[in-house]
């Protein structure tokens, strides 16, 4: 498993680890049931503190990507695609809601917002 840490990135290190392991799981590079390196081993390998890898694993566990067995370590969870899609949809909904609120605050009409969204959507390919 490759994990590349940038010390100059604005993103905290635990976040970088979280994002990269998550990606490995979602792309099936890490498969369900596969063991992750122990937090302490990973900390040593990446030359960072244990508390940082611990935080990354906690976030992964909280979001259902991995599970831990006391004394045995951490493993990749069975990924439920339906669940992931559902979760993503929820996030999109929330983000759109805050965009709508912001628009209302400064009087941006629905039409204008739609236009903006369409433009941004097409741009980002």
């Amino acid at each position: 498993m490759q994990i590349i840490i940038s010390n100059t990135s604005k993103e905290p290190i635990y976040e970088q680890i979280y994002v990269q392991i998550k990606k490995h799981i979602l792309t099936n590079e890490l498969q369900a049931g596969e063991a992750l390196p122990s937090m302490r081993q990973l900390a040593k390998d990446l030359d960072i503190s244990v508390i940082t890898t611990k935080r990354a694993y906690e976030e992964l566990e909280k979001n259902g990507f991995i599970f831990s067995i006391v004394g045995k370590g951490s493993f990749v969870s069975e990924q439920n695609n339906e669940m992931i899609l559902e979760r993503k949809r929820k996030v999109i909904e929330e983000q759109l809601l805050s965009a709508i609120q912001n628009s209302k605050e400064i009087g941006v009409e629905l039409e204008e917002l739609l236009e903006l969204l369409t433009m941004l959507y097409k741009e980002d390919t």
Binding site: P12, Y14, K44, D47, I48, V50, T52
Partner: protein, 293 residues
């Protein structure tokens, strides 16, 4: 989580210097980096933890035990590494071992030789020929050979070259693998802490400023940069140790989110280093301690 070291409301006064109501705890299985400028009380604190000094008031406990009743037991379980030579200089490492070994119940010759080999230390050369790095390694080998559960180090990396400092950090990573050992060390070289420290304990002028998870520091603190016209009597209260010039100001905030909400795009927020935090705290001095508590 279990605390290995606990200082509660400790006071210790010397002429011209005092530790004030110091409460610190160190968590088992983790590395805690102990930072602060010169003469703020780091070494005094370490001596209190080792019972080389006794507090005027307050409690010190190690492994949940107090020194009055359990001094021997506690000391069996601690290994300490100082920045200066504490060995007899004119004898060899192998003779030094003969002196130290009988003091410890859990002494293990196997472990000792394993580390002597790993660290490439000469057993038959007199200790006075050792370099600073070798002295450090010898000190660490002794600490590890009696299966110390708590390793306390005072400025272990100071005066060591960068290559050896890296080596030492690797060794410390190895020691931490089983999750049973605890390391507490003071240092000036804050970049070493980025590689190993789980918690940071910061003291200034004899007072405990904070103990935080390492990653939490960049979540809470930020260096703020902006135009000087943003500063007035009210906004200055938001910061610690403001540095003004003709071209703008720089300051430290202890509440990044609040600063972001308050100033929005008018300021730049940057990740602070531990050095930044030490520097601005010294600048802001008393004002800091107040705004923190």
């Amino acid at each position: 989580m279990e605390n290995v070291i606990e200082l509660q409301n400790v006071n210790k006064a010397f002429k011209g210097f005092e530790l004030k109501d110091l409460s610190i705890s160190v968590k088992k299985g983790f590395v805690t980096g102990f930072i602060g400028g010169n003469g703020v009380g780091k070494s005094t604190t370490i001596k209190l933890i080792l019972n080389l000094l006794q507090p005027d008031s307050g409690d010190v406990s190690v492994f949940g035990l107090n020194y009055k009743k359990h001094e021997k037991e506690i000391k069996q379980r601690i290994g300490f590494v100082f920045d200066h030579n504490v060995f007899y200089e004119h004898i060899t490492l192998s003779d030094m071992k003969k002196i130290i070994k009988p003091a410890y119940k859990n002494w293990d010759d196997g472990i000792f030789h394993q580390y002597v080999n790993l660290f490439e230390l000469p057993l038959k050369k007199s200790i006075k020929t050792f370099s600073k790095g070798m002295m450090m390694k010898a000190s660490l080998a002794f600490a590890l050979s009696h299966r110390a559960e708590l390793i306390i180090m005072d400025e272990p990396t100071s005066g060591l070259d960068p290559i050896f400092r890296r080596e030492l950090l690797d060794i410390l990573h190895d020691i931490m693998q089983d999750g049973e050992k605890t390391i507490f060390f003071s240092t000036h070289i804050t970049t070493d802490l980025d590689r190993i420290a789980d918690y940071i304990t910061f003291i200034h002028n004899g007072q405990h400023i904070f103990t935080k998870e390492h990653y939490k520091i960049e979540e809470d603190y930020a260096i703020v940069k902006g135009e000087t016209n943003l500063l007035d009597r009210d906004t200055e209260q938001e910061f610690i140790g403001i540095r003004k010039s003709n071209h703008g100001f720089e300051a430290l905030t202890t509440n990044k989110q609040r600063t972001a909400n308050l100033f929005g795009d008018m300021v730049i927020l940057e990740k602070p280093t531990l050095e930044d935090i030490m520097l601005y705290t010294k600048k802001g001095n008393d004002n800091y301690v107040k705004s923190y508590s």
